[in-house]
């Protein structure tokens, strides 16, 4: 293996890492924010319309935070699995809550 090969391999590894982060930031980040929007909308007490609006306002900020985190995480894979765990948690909350009390 020459030095050039190693260099090329490092470059491809970096590109792969960036691709993972883009996946984490855009589709996964949006999905995570959306699922948290659902979870927060379910968890907030009081008027349903008010809860939905509050959750939507918060979710817009979460979307940006998810994208920042996707690039701040130590590696692309780490960004993906941490966001996936966060999304899974929100999905579980929303699912259980909707299943228990239903929707308007």
């Amino acid at each position: 293996m020459t030095a050039g090969d190693g260099h090329a391999r490092a470059r491809w590894a970096r590109r792969g890492d960036i691709a993972l982060r883009v996946v984490a930031a855009v589709p996964l980040g949006y999905a995570t924010a959306s699922l948290w929007a659902m979870a927060i909308a379910r968890l907030l007490p009081g008027d349903r319309a008010e809860a939905s609006v509050t959750a939507s306002l918060v979710a817009l900020a979460l979307c940006a935070i998810a994208a920042i985190w996707a690039f701040a995480a130590r590696s692309g894979w780490r960004a993906i699995w941490t966001l996936a765990v966060a999304a899974g948690l929100a999905a579980a909350i929303a699912w259980i809550s909707i299943d228990a009390t239903g929707r308007v």
Partner: protein
């Protein structure tokens, strides 16, 4: 703050800013101009007199609709103000049996709308989209389905929010560097300019980006509603309540004078009215709803009153919105700035310009920074060339297109078929030509040419108004119409600024080589690298 975090954010800031920067530039330019949309609606219809008596316009609108559409499903009449060209009304015809009842669908149709002028008659004005074009283009773009455009603009806005946050991290010293502007120092100057325009209006940039997302929230983030509601209509009814609908009786009954209702509503609301909607006019079940003007309050969720259209009795009043709905409404209101008076509009306008310059300087900075590191500056790689030329095409070309749009408004024949569309086509034709030139000629030549052309057109417009019309700058100042005078004066100022910019760019010699090989003549730039 760890070094790794800052580096990751620098990468994110650079690339997200670059890839969406071109769309954001268009959105910022259009949005900034749209703060003067009411003024441009008047400026672009020079035939129309200024509204002095809004009630006279309203009476004219009612008389026109009673003649033209007595059996309509509903009439929608904006209340004219001194800022508006008149009342741009429209009506929704009775749905034919089996046809879906769509309220929004008739909005754009030419045969169900009219502009009532200051004298209460249908205004004989040139066909134009006026300032509304900039307002719609700001989020609907053009020549594409609006839903795609809004997703694209919404995505770009989210990227903007991310770019602002990561930018604060990247340019960590921006607050300290704000007081530094190193002129004629190449990359350093571009960076200082980028930082200055960013920090100067940073609260505005954060506010306008976040609230911009809120304006598109039902499209971009419907999931919180989905979590609580099986049908979106239920939540809309809860958030935007309206008086209970009543069935058309089929018994004719004369409609009350709308001026009486408007006067009563303004007294009850303690503020001007903006829209009057009449449902089932001429029927015993007629209803008249009046909305409070968004110019009079921060929140865009303005209170509404509904009256019996025959007796004029108040039958319904909108309940105060909940805290969250009011917050969202205030954010939308903050974004659109309708509540702002002339001073506030100027502040919005200047902050919008700062945002536009921040985006433009950021785009240019990408190339300036990389040009110095190119192995051979005379033969940059393809990616660099594409970015460099797209910058010229968008940052240099779009303002030229807008200048041509204004010129088309003045020069296209008044009788031209689909004239309003052709004004807009002229914008895009001019822009496409500018982009084509940007891709074949050297950027160093195209930048100043496009700026100079834009400058000449923008200076020519107010001159044309003075020479060829009776609504020139001085005539408008004399009668105290500061809105029209202000638009003419602002165009002249922008024209001069573009001309000065063109001269400066034309004389500019890149500093990069001078730094590396001191005392080499700038002409050496063109020599192949050793």
């Amino acid at each position: 703050m760890s070094k790794g975090f800052r580096q990751s954010q620098a990468f994110l800031h650079t690339w997200s800013g670059l890839l969406l920067g071109w769309i954001l530039f268009l959105v910022f330019v259009a949005g900034t101009i749209a703060f003067w949309r009411e003024g441009l609606n008047r400026w672009m219809r020079p035939e129309i007199a200024r509204v002095e008596q809004p009630m006279r316009v309203l009476a004219g609108a009612q008389a026109y609709l009673a003649r033209k559409a007595p059996d309509a499903k509903s009439w929608i009449i904006p209340v004219a103000t001194k800022r508006s060209p008149g009342a741009q009304l429209f009506w929704v015809p009775q749905p034919k049996p089996g046809e879906e009842r769509g309220r929004g669908r008739s909005r754009g149709r030419r045969d169900t709308q009219a502009l009532i002028g200051a004298d209460g008659q249908v205004a004989q004005a040139r066909e134009t989209r006026g300032g509304e074009f900039f307002y719609r283009f700001h989020f609907d773009l053009h020549y594409m389905p609006v839903i795609w455009a809004r997703w694209l603009v919404g995505f770009a806005t989210m990227v903007m929010l991310v770019a602002i946050i990561s930018g604060i991290v990247t340019h960590k010293k921006i607050f300290k560097d704000f007081f530094t502007l190193r002129r004629a120092r190449g990359q350093r100057s571009w960076l200082d300019g980028h930082n200055a325009t960013a920090v100067l209006a940073l609260p505005f940039h954060l506010m306008i980006t976040y609230t911009g997302l809120v304006t598109l929230m039902t499209l971009l983030m419907p999931w919180a509603v989905v979590a609580n509601y099986t049908d979106q209509k239920t939540v809309f009814a809860a958030l935007f309540p309206t008086a209970a609908a009543i069935e058309r009786t089929g018994r004719p009954a004369p409609l009350i004078d709308l001026r009486r209702i408007a006067t009563d509503a303004q007294r009850r609301l303690g503020a001007p009215a903006s829209f009057i909607e009449v449902s089932d006019p001429g029927d015993a079940a007629a209803r008249v709803s009046v909305s409070q003007s968004a110019n009079s309050m921060l929140s865009s969720r303005t209170p509404q009153l509904t009256y019996d259209g025959v007796t004029g009795r108040l039958v319904w009043r909108s309940p105060p919105p909940g805290a969250a709905a009011e917050t969202a409404g205030a954010m939308v209101g903050l974004h659109a700035g309708r509540f702002a008076g002339n001073g506030g509009r100027w502040l919005y306008f200047l902050c919008g310009i700062a945002g536009t310059l921040m985006i433009a300087s950021g785009l240019v900075l990408w190339t300036v920074k990389r040009r110095e590191r190119l192995p051979d500056p005379t033969r940059p790689h393809v990616g660099f060339r594409v970015v460099e030329r797209l910058n010229v095409a968008v940052v240099g070309g779009f303002p030229l297109g807008i200048a041509c749009f204004f010129c088309a408004n003045r020069l296209l024949p008044v009788t031209l078929h689909a004239r309003a569309d052709w004004e807009v086509h002229m914008l895009f034709i001019a822009w496409a030509l500018a982009a084509a030139i940007a891709f074949v000629a050297r950027p160093a030549r195209v930048w100043p040419s496009l700026f100079a052309a834009t400058g000449v057109l923008l200076v020519a417009l107010p001159v044309y108004d003075v020479v060829a019309t009776d609504r020139g700058l001085f005539a408008m100042l004399a009668i105290g119409d500061l809105m029209i005078a202000g638009i003419d004066a602002t165009m002249a100022l922008f024209g001069i600024a573009f001309l000065l910019l063109a001269r400066r760019v034309a004389r500019h010699r890149p500093a990069a080589r001078r730094v590396r090989s001191a005392r080499t003549a700038p002409a050496a730039m063109l020599e192949p690298a050793e």
